[in-house]
Structures are given as C-alpha cells and as structure tokens.
Symmetry: C3
Subunit: 193 residues, 3 copies
C-alpha cells in the first residue's frame, strides 16, 4: 500500500502539486492542512483535514508530509513549516514529476518538489524544501540552496549559484556562473548577471 | 476509419498544426482551404483543395474542420471563420498534441489546438478556438477566454485571466492573478501585472 | 557494438552533452579532448585522453567525434575544431536528445547537438555544428545557419533566419520572419525584430 501524505497548504500551488503527486503515483494524498476555518472544504477533491495545530496529533496516523504553501515574498512560512514537520518526525520526501527530468548526475534533496516539465541538468545540486516550478531549467553545475522557489519557466544557466531562501521569478534568466545572495527576491522577467 | 479534417488556412501556423495532427493520429487531413489562386498547391504534402467559398459544398464530403490561420494583430478572421464553420455544421474538435500536457483537472473547449510542449495545469480553463502555442504554460486556476492566441513560450502564472480575443505574445509572462481585457494585444517578451 | 565517440572540450557544456549522449544511446564515450595539463582528469567519470595535438593519432582508434566546447563570444574555436576534425576524417554525427523533438518535416545537419527539451518544428532547417540548447524552440520555417548556438530557452518564432556563426542568447525571442546577420551576438533576454 502506498504511504499516505499530508499536503501542508491548500492554495493555488497546492493544486499544481496535487497534479504532480497523482501522476507520480508513489503516495496517496491523506488530506490538506490549512487554516482552521477551511477544515472540511475540498481542493481538487481532497479534504482539508486539519490546521497547523493538528500536526502533532495527525502524525499518529500519517508519517509523510510535503509543503504545498507557495513562496513569493518570503521563504519564512515554508522554512518554519519545514522545521516543525522535521521536529515532529514527519518524513518529507522529494517529489519529482514524471514529466520533469533530473539528470542522474544531479541531486535533489528532501522536501523539494520538481514540477511538470522542469529540467535539472548534469552536475546540478538542489537543496531541501525547494519549489522547482513548471518548465524551470536548472543547467549543468548550478547550485540551488535550501528553501528556494525557482519559479515557472525560469532559467539558471550553467554554474549559477542561488543561495538559500531565494525567490527566482518566473521567466527570469541568469547568466552563467551568476551568484545570487541569500533570501534574494528576483522579480519576473529579469536577466541576472 | 479516421474522420477526415479540413485545415482552414495554409500559412506557417498550418505547418505546425499539421505536425500536431499527424502525431496525434485521430484525424486524417483532407486538405487545406486557402485563397482561390493557391488551389492545387501543397503545404507539407497536403493539397489546397478549395477556398472559403467552397466550405458549404465541401461539407458534403467532410464533416470536421479546424482553423489553422494564425492570429497576431486581430482575432477577427479566426472568429469569423469559426462562426461560419459552426453555421454550416462542421464539427470543430479540440486537438491536443501528445507532446503537450493537459491536467485532468483542466478543461479545453472545441476548436482549440494545444501545440507541442504546451502545458495546461490543474484547474485551468481554456475556451473555444484558441491557439495554445508550442511551449506555452497555462498555470493552475488560469482562465483563457475564447479566440485567444497564447503564443510560443508564453507563461500565464496561477489564476491569470485572459479575456476573449486576446493575443498574448511569445515569451510574455503574467503575474499571478493578472487580469487581461478583451481583445488585448500583448507584445512579445512583456511582463504583465 | 556501439561506435566510440570523442568529446572535444571538457567544460560545462560537455557535461550537458554527456547527459544527452548517455540517454540517446547510439555512442559510447571514448574520452574527452582538452588542454594538455588536464589529461588524466575526469569529467562525469570520463577521462581526458588527450589534447588537440593528439587528434590525428587518436583517429587510428576512434572514428567519431563531436564538439563539446561551448560558444558565447565567438564561434571561431568551434569552427576551427570542426574543420580540423573533418580534415582528419572524423565522422561528426548530429546527436538529438530523446527528450528533444525534431519534426519529421525538419532537418538537422551533421555535428549539431539538440539538447534536452529542445523543439524543432515543421519545415525548419538547422545547419552544421550548432548547439540547440536545452528548452530552445525553433518554430516552423526557421533557418539556422552553420556554427550557431541557440541558447537555453531561446525562441525563434516562425520563419526566423539566424545566419552562420551567431550566438542567440538564453531566453531571447525573435519576432516572426526576423533576419539575423552572420556572427551576431544577441544577449540573453532580448526581443529581436
């Protein structure tokens, strides 16, 4: 039987992650964690089964979780949730869409979701708890730190370093070997040198 | 036997659509409709079998048609053709490239062609008679009205609304929940807020 | 037995090409040619087996080669190497990633590598010794001359002509039927008319 997984956050990004998890097929979705007043509502057919305060209790029944809150302005919510899930003891897998590609010469750490049509090329390294969003391209030798969101269609050219907690905007492109500081916010459609 | 389909318009976009139809495999191409003086010429091996004035007569032999005229400056030609085909009684299918992806939580209406490597994510809705061009990305919760052209490599981020008759340029990106008015013309390489 | 192939150039681009060759499966990698002082070092597990001066001698053992030097500022190094390999007698194949798509109505000439997720659409023509990089899109009727680098995520819209020796930057987009002069350098994130 497939392990059941809790999705932490029931907004728009959660829907895209549901699409990935359903296609990937390793987990069955146990339900969604969101704000208290949303308990009982559904997201693409999956019920909101609790709020943050219920995470300890739910660990009795479910051992896997993944963060499905989006990340634009700040990584803080996702970092806090990640640390909390780890403290409780949840396993936080990396989930890779069958429509994405991760080179066998690349690595992706726990809690990171690689969305449809994303591509992680040879010798790239992606940290924990990242979103590598739909159609993003992480070229050879790039390094993405923990808790980053590489947004839709973004391109990290070869050897780019994106430091921890960064938002790298949609359709933004970095030059080869660009270095991006921690917790940077890089808006959509930029060129980063 | 596969239903035969007429392609309405024999320009450059038609070639890309032929590539999609051949790979998709549900239809056999009956021929192309273009200007009178082009009758008898060929596009990728398919003959121009008539002009607009012949559409009523051709309906005796062929019941399916798809519009393969491109759309940049204005949607008017494609809207007029769509209405005319409907009035005559043609079935106008949606055609989705096997190299594209449409989430099972998304919908695509009749007459829309989803080209190679396009991606339509969970809970998105695409109207009638649209071109979702090669490598375009329609993210979760987006809505695309009828008669729109989402051009090559364009990105609609989550919850974007593109109203009827809009041209959304190549490699253009919208911010989440952007709202775009009817019949907008958005040039290539833009960022839309 | 698979033919063995030499990779000419052991930098970052070489790693991406190794990923393509391993997945494509037609060739086994004989080793890498790079600067003399790097002989014996390894790139993704493949040894640097010689430098440029060894190419004549190595032709006794290996008959296939592909250029894996990158191309940004100038095509001259890649052109010189290509001509030298031809003079010696090497076969220089085109290599197309199984994750790329080349329309059966398109052509790709010798020595060109089509990287993962690149798409070459109907009636396009790509010359010799080009790099069609990851996620690049070459639309219908486009023509790419010899010795060009169409960089990551770049888009040539329908009918674009890119003349010999051009660098077409990452995430750059051309308007339909744009014409780009020989040996142009077009920086990342541009819109070309």
């Amino acid at each position: 039987m497939k392990p059941k997984i809790l999705l932490i956050g029931g907004g728009g990004h959660c829907k895209s992650v549901i699409d990935v998890i359903e296609m990937e097929g390793s987990f069955s979705i146990a339900g969604i964690i969101d704000q208290k007043e949303l308990v009982g509502k559904k997201v693409l057919g999956y019920e909101v089964v609790g709020c943050d305060d219920d995470l300890e209790e739910l660990f009795a029944g479910f051992t896997h979780a993944i963060i499905t809150v989006g990340q634009i302005k700040s990584p803080d919510v996702r970092i806090k949730l990640f640390n909390r899930l780890k403290t409780i003891g949840y396993e936080i897998p990396s989930i890779i869409s069958p429509k994405a590609y991760v080179s066998k010469h690349a690595t992706v750490d726990e809690g990171t979701v690689v969305m449809h049509d994303a591509l992680i090329n040879a010798n790239a390294t992606v940290g924990k708890n990242c979103i590598i969003n739909s159609k993003a391209l992480i070229e050879h030798d790039s390094i993405v730190g923990d808790h980053c969101h590489i947004s839709t269609g973004a391109i990290l050219n070869g050897g780019t370093v994106v430091s921890e907690g960064t938002f790298f905007g949609s359709n933004t492109v970095s030059k080869e070997y660009a270095i991006i500081a921690e917790k940077s916010f890089i808006k959509a459609g930029s060129v980063v040198k």
